[in-house]
């Protein structure tokens, strides 16, 4: 260590910054008793080469001794472990053969590392959800797709996915039978002697059924008012689902691209751009060749 230091000094390094940084690093690794001695040595050594003003700026027993003051630490750059962001918590949430119920997330992912197989669906963020109670199976199905990996849910733990291709699908009813409740006929006239419901007839408007309320007022059912929207023929949303909208947006972008290409062709036809041929831009090779040709002409 000593030897290397002296060798630097013998080379009479003028660049103070370089010298400071390298020395600081080296001294920090030194043991404490050595630090004091080296510091004195360092001071005497630099005093020969570095002007006094620069020496003040360089300053630095503090740095040499490896002390960082709070004002520096509070800036955070030293403390923060870089390249470590917020965890996304992706990956398998249920292992193979684990029991799941409908709606359980089996796998979280960016993109489709895994595809939904038997009794599973893929969510909007590509997460794989169970659609039935059963046991999770991770599998491949070369008949369906040669490369894809699938996650499925089987009703029995012993079942192996994929099922044979020509076998009947295994389906579960998942329904319980209840007796249908007979609808109770409501009397037309309330105990107060007024009808439970009246029909409001206005010319040019659909008839409205007004029902008797607790406060003895007649008012239309809220759900019926909601149904009125349908009679206007208004369309509040252009697309019923997000997927439909994305499909439309992709189609529109595609069409824009085609249109732009077409208009580029048209523009080129109007006034020929030297760097295009038949509306298409020249490749670099072609451009070079064209330049050479022009030079040769001159």
């Amino acid at each position: 260590m000593e030897a290397s230091c002296t060798s630097i000094f013998t080379r009479q390094v003028q660049s103070t910054t370089l010298c400071r940084s390298t020395l600081a690093m080296r001294f920090l690794t030194m043991q404490r008793p050595l630090v004091a001695a080296a510091g004195s040595f360092f001071q005497s050594a630099t005093s020969r080469t570095v002007p006094i003003a620069a020496q003040a700026a360089l300053g630095n027993a503090a740095l040499v001794q490896g002390v960082r003051y709070a004002s520096v630490k509070s800036q955070g750059a030293y403390k923060k472990k870089s390249k470590r962001g917020i965890p996304k918590k992706l990956g398998a949430k249920r292992t193979g053969d684990q029991y799941v119920i409908p709606g359980n997330i089996i796998y979280k992912q960016r993109g489709t590392l895994w595809w939904p197989g038997e009794n599973c669906i893929m969510g909007r963020d590509f997460s794989i959800h169970a659609m039935a109670t059963g046991y999770v199976k991770y599998y491949r199905d070369p008949q369906r797709h040669p490369d894809r990996k699938y996650i499925g849910v089987t009703f029995n733990k012993d079942d192996v996915l994929p099922y044979p291709q020509h076998a009947e699908r295994r389906r579960r009813l998942g329904l319980t039978a209840y007796p249908i409740k007979p609808t109770v006929e409501e009397p037309e006239i309330s105990p107060s002697g007024i009808p439970y419901q009246v029909n409001r007839v206005v010319k040019g408007e659909p008839d409205r059924l007004l029902r008797l309320r607790k406060d003895y007022s007649y008012r239309e059912d809220n759900w019926r008012i909601g149904q009125l929207v349908k009679t206007t023929g208004l369309r509040t949303k252009r697309f019923r689902t997000r997927k439909q909208y994305f499909r439309y947006r992709a189609w529109r972008r595609e069409r824009e691209k085609i249109g732009q290409a077409k208009s580029a062709v048209k523009r080129a036809a109007m006034g020929e751009d030297p760097n295009t041929v038949k509306g298409r831009p020249l490749s670099k090779k072609q451009q070079k060749a064209a330049k050479k040709k022009q030079k040769a002409k001159k």
Binding site: Y99, I101, P102, T133, Q165, H166, A167, E168, R169, R171, R172, L173, G174, L175, T176, A177, Y178, P179, I180
Partner: protein, 446 residues
């Protein structure tokens, strides 16, 4: 009136004056002076707006009827009330083209004759003379016969009259060319549609492990054609439908018709079973005889299981009612079928299986159609009329409870529910949506 006829009319009118007029140096017909005195009394043709002559136009218009189109067109109609035959259209290029087509047809017919002679020769030879023996002989004859079939179609495929007759629906299905056209039309749309239905309704593999339809099956309820896969009201499907099964290969055959419901809920097994709604065997079918009204099948030798109106219980998902037409290799014993499927399920009394009936009686499924049934306003009445049970129950999804442990209620109010905090009860009890006088509402909430 077809387009070519209407075009041809003016020409035909010219021809009517002088049917065949070769190139001559004499003046044209229009230049020849014809002095016919104009008629004074209107003939019956002059009272018709299609054929009225110019001199009677006014009278007709006064009567309130407008003469049609142009005078030239009216004259053309007047001259040929039945229209000029298509083959005799007086266009030179057309007639020349027809000659070429006729020559081609002659060539094809000659080829057919030659191939038939070859077949006869091969059949007369002994199997020992062939290198591969009887198998090779059969193969060669079969391949020649296939080639003859191709030639038969090739002979007629360019004939515009044949094509026109097919498009007018007048094609004779006994002739190979019309069957060829019919199959091509079916493959262009209906076949694609039905194969898509087979795929998306999982008919393969739910009902059969493999199936490729080769005949057009159309379904009619109350004389109305229904699209494959349509949801049919239970009242509409109460009487049996009529099938129109168009086959595209020659000859008469016997077929079996099976209608089955592939989605009968089975609560005990927590799954689905199949039930047959109609089975009839020994039904003759040929390319020309395609209509099969299921309601008219009453012969004991044919009807095995009578029609059961398809119904589905309230809350159950849609039922796929599949109609299969299966080819028999000989007459079947309908009584045996009747015995076996009297309970509409089969011998094991669990579920009807088309596979087993196919294998047992050696049937080949070739036609398919489908419709769907759901619970609707008329279903209960239909079930009542036909003694079908289950109209009084409804299906609701079985609740699957969360696997998470219920959490104890937390928070300031939850802590102060006990008698120790009696003085705070006016604040901690009867909170709307959280608790009432008797219990903590969120405690048992999963």
């Amino acid at each position: 009136m077809s387009r070519c006829q209407s075009v041809a009319r003016p020409l035909a009118r010219q021809l009517s004056r002088q049917l065949y007029r070769p190139f001559t140096t004499t003046p044209s017909i229009s230049a020849e002076v014809t002095t016919e005195p104009p008629a004074t009394t209107p003939s019956p043709a002059d009272l018709d707006p299609d054929t009225v002559l110019p001199e009677f136009e006014n009278a007709l218009m006064k009567a309130g009827q407008m003469p049609i189109g142009s005078r030239r067109r009216r004259m053309a109609i007047r001259d040929y009330p039945d229209g000029l035959p298509f083959e005799q259209l007086p266009y030179q290029a057309f007639q020349e083209a027809r000659k070429i087509l006729a020559a081609d047809r002659e060539q094809k017919l000659a080829a057919i004759r030659a191939e038939l002679a070859k077949i006869a020769l091969l059949e007369s030879r002994d199997a020992k003379d062939f290198k591969g023996g009887q198998a090779m002989k059969d193969t060669r004859i079969a391949s020649l016969k296939r080639y003859v079939e191709v030639l038969k179609i090739q002979a007629d495929i360019n004939d515009p009259v044949v094509k026109k007759r097919f498009e007018d629906g007048l094609g004779d299905m006994n002739k190979p060319i019309y069957r060829y056209y019919a199959e091509r039309r079916w493959r262009s749309y209906q076949h694609k549609l039905i194969t898509q239905r087979i795929e998306q309704f999982n008919i393969v593999p739910d009902i059969l492990p493999k199936f490729e339809p080769t005949a057009d099956v159309q379904l009619y309820f109350w004389q109305q054609k229904t699209q494959p896969g349509a949801i049919i009201d239970s009242l509409v499907s109460e009487p049996p439908p009529r099938l129109n099964v168009q086959v595209f290969d020659k000859g008469e055959r016997l077929v079996t018709i099976v209608v089955l419901d592939a989605d009968v809920p089975n609560v005990e097994a927590d799954g689905y079973t199949k039930k047959c709604h109609f089975v009839a065997a020994n039904i003759p079918l040929s390319p020309t005889q395609s209509s099969i009204p299921l309601g008219k099948i009453k012969d004991e030798n044919q009807l095995a299981v009578p029609w059961l109106p398809p119904t589905s219980q309230k809350g159950s998902p849609y039922h796929r009612i599949a109609i299969f037409v299966l080819e028999q290799d000989g007459p079947l014993d309908a009584k045996a079928l009747k015995e076996q499927y009297a309970n509409r399920l089969g011998k094991d009394k669990t579920s009807f299986s088309l596979k087993s009936i196919r294998d047992k009686y050696n049937l080949k499924p070739f036609g398919f159609s489908i419709f769907r049934s759901v619970w609707d306003d008329n279903t209960a009445a239909v079930m009542g009329r036909h003694g079908i049970e289950g109209a009084d129950i409804e299906f609701r999804p079985t609740r699957v409870h969360s696997m998470k442990q219920p959490v104890k209620p937390r928070g300031w109010e939850a802590k102060r529910q006990g008698p120790k905090y009696r003085h705070l009860w006016k604040y901690t009890k009867r909170i709307k949506g959280v608790s009432n006088g008797r219990k903590w509402l969120k405690a048992g909430k999963r």
